[in-house]
Symmetry: C2
Subunit: 262 residues, 2 copies
């Protein structure tokens, strides 16, 4: 199977049929991939308000209808309970297990949230001639818990997590412009320069992901990260949550380039 | 009293004390004014999702906390039940009355939605050297119900209402850029040119507001309008809703120019 040339819909069908079980990195290049968080309706209002108040760490691509496994906008003929290769279910904040299909666990009160992902803006940065260091080094992007509090909403609150990419001085403006044009996938950086200014003690010791080299003449640039809503969600230990398993995302029908014109 | 030089906070205090009872047009120039819709919590999830799915007609400046008359972000020391000069209360879609103070009607389950307003982008258009025809003619902006359906959410659905401003050919790009930079106050136009293409039969017979002249060499340009969420809300005839009275808005602490950098 050639993951590079199939359409997102073809990829989702193969995932649904159990013929693709791998992580989705590199699949259907040019199309946005989305994080998943499925919550019971009684938590959904507070979480939706949290995303409204914190659009940079929590850029919503779609919120599904209550109880529906179909999506309306970003993925045609999608079954959100089967079209992701690997799911996680958490009960009271504890990982219950990983599943290739969560349709047996689906309930009429569940609301799926699809959240934009930095893969989309990295794709645009690469097209603009920029190097993505963690790609070059074959590593995961470094992520850090900052001292920047999110804006609370109802029961949800907590610190902002950021991802970091080193950028040469003469490309900082370009990095701001390219990513700032894509507010649905985290948008412009939230900090440029001294890590200590946002509470990061050691740039070589990320809280998640892997460290990357920063060369002379480069500055660490920090973007709000989709781990933020996940960690904020987990910290309140809800009775029941379904998420994607890290790296196993929903492949959407939305082209990254079209996220610039929303 | 000089409405041009007082701060938004001073204006809100004078409104709260009953010393300002007029409409708010022209007050505190440079600061954003906001539309108000207050809904019971049981409708708030669907309405918040409706605004998420329809950001152009429903640009949210702030959603308050459930039951709270304070705002957290756009107006310091605000009492949302008293700081607007004139309110309306609707019961089952019928206007119950107009009030200068709705604190006696406040309930623990009410959620205030503050929605951006085209005054903000008009102010930026004027600064950019553009004429706003309805201002020149001393009229209200013309508004039209279109054949463009909003994206439904829960119980909410209905057509998009637009406002229209004539723009000379050589300023169309400028009009798109200036307003496109302000997504929190309706953003870029949703249609440029032939009114029939969006279901408008007679440009000189708006559904709301007043007609304005369109000169040779000018094109009608259409922006999503804040009347959309109001009419969508009213069409479902909820048991209880508080809104501002048209023209009597909340004066916020947010500078229009800062809406470009959100």
């Amino acid at each position: 199977m050639d993951y590079k040339t199939m359409t997102p819909k073809e990829a989702r069908m193969l995932i649904r049929e159990g013929k693709i079980t791998t992580h989705t990195s590199g699949m259907c290049p040019g199309y946005a991939q989305a994080n998943l968080a499925v919550l019971p309706k009684d938590l959904a209002y507070d979480f939706l308000l949290f995303t409204q108040r914190n659009p940079k760490p929590c850029p919503i691509l779609e919120v599904g209808d209550v109880g529906s496994r179909k999506l309306n906008f970003i993925a045609e003929d999608c079954d959100i309970a089967r079209d992701i290769p690997k799911y996680r279910i958490y009960e009271k904040g504890i990982l219950k297990g990983e599943y290739e299909d969560v349709s047996d666990f689906w309930r009429d009160d569940l609301v799926p949230f699809l959240i934009g992902c930095s893969f989309s803006f990295e794709s645009e940065m690469i097209d603009a001639g920029m190097e993505i260091r963690h790609n070059t080094m074959g590593r995961n992007v470094p992520m850090y818990i900052t001292n920047i509090e999110t804006t609370p909403a109802g029961i949800f609150h907590g610190p902002t997590t950021v991802s970091m990419r080193p950028v040469p001085y003469d490309q900082i403006v370009k990095a701001v412009k390219v990513t700032g044009a894509m507010p649905q996938v985290h948008g412009a950086p939230i900090h440029i320069g001294d890590p200590a200014a946002i509470g990061i003690k050691d740039i070589m010791k990320p809280d998640f992901g892997d460290p990357v080299d920063i060369y002379p003449g480069e500055v660490p640039v920090f973007w709000a990260c989709g781990v933020t809503p996940q960690s904020v969600l987990m910290s309140i230990k809800p009775d029941f949550v379904i998420t994607h398993s890290p790296g196993y995302m929903l492949i959407t029908d939305v082209k990254n380039v079209d996220l610039k014109y929303k």
